[in-house]
């Protein structure tokens, strides 16, 4: 993680005051592993042939969780959040063995009925030629330092 490269944790505390519209998170790089596809599909009891064979595809939501990696790369601490909404556009399937790059941007922050909502949009691209694979956005309610939502 880049923010820890110097040995000192340079990440900021995960709290509402530190989340700003336009904040960019990432990039994050990794290679999609065939074994992970099998494990993830197994957890859903999914037997779809798309997830099997020599060149399996990743289930559509397998990398939905990349928002958490982007957040953990930039922020520390915090009590987590409650997933409120999610949207996703699929351009191409993500495949086993594919190297991908993920970048995110905080596109919205809002206090509503005492709760702090934030939206993080993130894109997954092929790391070798930048082809767009998936674009998604999570809206989450941040749990405050006392552990509550309000």
């Amino acid at each position: 993680m880049a923010k820890q490269a110097a040995g000192k944790d340079q990440r900021v505390e995960m709290r509402a005051e530190n989340l700003h519209q336009g904040m960019r998170l990432g990039p994050l790089f990794y290679v999609v592993e065939s074994q992970q596809i099998g494990t993830f599909a197994g957890a859903l009891h999914a037997t779809n042939p798309l997830y099997q064979g020599d060149s399996p595809l990743a289930p559509p939501t397998m990398r939905l969780n990349d928002y958490a990696l982007l957040i953990a790369q930039h922020f520390k601490g915090g009590k987590g959040g409650v997933h409120a909404r999610h949207r996703c556009e699929f351009f191409e399937p993500v495949r086993a063995g594919q190297a991908v790059r993920v970048d995110g941007t905080v596109t919205g922050t809002e206090r509503k009925r005492g709760k702090f909502y934030f939206t993080l949009e993130y894109e997954t691209r092929d790391a070798t030629d930048s082809r767009l694979l998936v674009r998604q956005a999570i809206t989450s309610i941040l749990i405050n330092p006392e552990g509550g939502l309000v």
Partner: protein, 142 residues
């Protein structure tokens, strides 16, 4: 996997009920371990006190696992074409507690401009909706 015959507008499909218990949550967590993620050790998914402070009666399942169950129904119904130009937008409207059995449902709402628009929802074992939303899928080639 129903690529051969297009479903008509108004058709309803339902997924196999999915027991979201501790074992299912742990299996799902194992499916996310590469690259490794960090989470607060005591959180609303793992700790009763943390869940109570956030206003829940008990620890709740991660919303993304409910989304995954819903999208599995779409992939099983329409295959790979969901992953080429498809998409979804969902709201998690009620918590799923460990031990709940959830089932995904989809209804073909419209067919226009080479696409199918679906209404989506996930119900728990009491018939309460925990997720609602929409999805779109490229229509089958004629």
């Amino acid at each position: 996997m129903n690529e051969a015959k297009e479903l008509a507008v108004g058709s309803h499909v339902a997924g196999v009920p999915y027991l979201l218990d501790d074992a299912a949550a742990q299996a799902y967590e194992r499916g996310l371990q590469q690259p490794q993620r960090r989470r607060p050790r005591m959180n609303i998914h793992t700790d009763r006190a943390a869940a109570t402070r956030a206003g829940f009666a008990a620890p709740i399942a991660a919303g993304e696992q409910t989304i995954a169950v819903a999208m599995q129904l779409v992939v099983d119904t329409f295959g790979e074409r969901f992953l080429h130009g498809g998409g979804f937008e969902v709201a998690l409207i009620k918590p799923v507690f460990f031990g709940d059995t959830i089932a995904a449902h989809a209804r073909i709402a419209r067919a226009e401009q080479g696409r199918l628009e679906l209404d989506l929802w996930v119900e728990n074992q009491r018939g309460a909706q925990v997720l609602t939303g929409t999805a779109r899928v490229r229509a089958a080639q004629q």
